[in-house]
């Protein structure tokens, strides 16, 4: 019998090359950061159990789960709206995993572990919005997409969950993208092409932006 040792690897391990790429002689306008090693649980209310799920979520997280396209920050997790009666729980350090959340939420919701099924990409920099605007059809202007706004949308025909995180200390907006792992490299290269003219600084991180 072959013995398997399951080692999780980033879906962008091949595609992501750290460093500054694209236009030279200018400060990189786009900062692309892949965030690795996160816990991501999809929570979907069972039929007719939306109200029970909402109160179970509030008991667990101390805040109401989003029922409109928003990303809500709790003490140790982000609750990201992904559709009617459903949201993601994004966290680090095994604080909210299938084990712990099943006990809290499974009476009213179905849970699915997406930790290794998605790639998480943070987009920032002075030209982040200009770059994303080439690819996305939603309005990314700060007035239309204030901090904490989430959207389930498509970028380059690829489904993504997009939300605006807190601004960086230098005031730059941060757009977070969750994309299916098998589509991550395709989306990554599309974003690289779109960002090349502005100069793009590529990193990966174990920490949320």
């Amino acid at each position: 019998m072959a013995e398997f040792s399951w080692v999780s690897r980033s879906p962008l391990e091949q595609g992501l090359v750290t460093g500054v790429h694209g236009a030279r002689g200018i400060k990189a306008g786009v900062l692309l950061t892949e965030i690795r090693n996160f816990d991501l649980i999809q929570v979907m209310a069972r039929r007719g159990k939306g109200v029970q799920m909402a109160s179970a979520a509030e008991a667990r997280f101390g805040v109401a789960a989003p029922d409109v396209p928003k990303a809500i920050q709790t003490a140790d997790a982000s609750l990201i709206w992904s559709g009617p009666d459903q949201y993601f729980v994004l966290s680090k350090g095994s604080k909210h995993t299938m084990d712990t959340l099943t006990r809290a939420l499974s009476q009213s919701a179905s849970l699915s572990d997406q930790s290794h099924a998605r790639a998480l990409i943070g987009v920032s920099g002075t030209k982040a919005r200009a770059m994303l605007a080439k690819l996305s059809s939603i309005d990314l202007h700060p007035q239309a997409l204030p901090i904490g706004t989430a959207a389930a949308t498509s970028i380059d025909h690829t489904s993504v969950n997009l939300w605006r995180g807190n601004d960086r200390p230098d005031g730059q907006a941060v757009f977070n993208l969750l994309v299916f792992a098998t589509f991550a490299e395709s989306l990554w290269h599309t974003m690289l092409d779109a960002a090349a003219e502005y100069g793009v600084d590529i990193r990966h991180s174990e920490e949320f932006a």
Partner: protein, 91 residues
């Protein structure tokens, strides 16, 4: 054309998939062959207001019931289909 998803807001057509007429209702198991034939195959070719199913697959993945004028593409109402659309394609 844009559709205002009741969950996501205004989105471009590319995020949606068209299913078809929202009017036909699945006949009871005891229905006659003619009624089943009508339900499965016969569709009205509407010129004007039409009730249609659309799927927001590029967004929140909800089924929507859209009232659209087939002559002008003007959309007068969008509401959630609450599982009806999913049932219609056998999901």
């Amino acid at each position: 054309m844009r559709i205002v998803c009741p969950f996501c807001g205004e989105r471009e057509l590319g995020e949606f998939t068209y299913l078809g007429d929202a009017k036909p209702v699945r006949p009871a198991a005891s229905a006659s062959e003619d009624e089943v034939f009508d339900y499965v195959y016969l569709r009205d070719n509407v010129a004007g207001q039409m009730s249609e199913y659309w799927y927001h697959g590029g967004g929140c993945r909800a089924w929507l019931k859209v009232t659209r004028n087939t002559l002008t593409h003007e959309i007068s109402a969008v509401e959630p289909a609450a599982g009806v659309g999913a049932r219609k394609v056998g999901a």
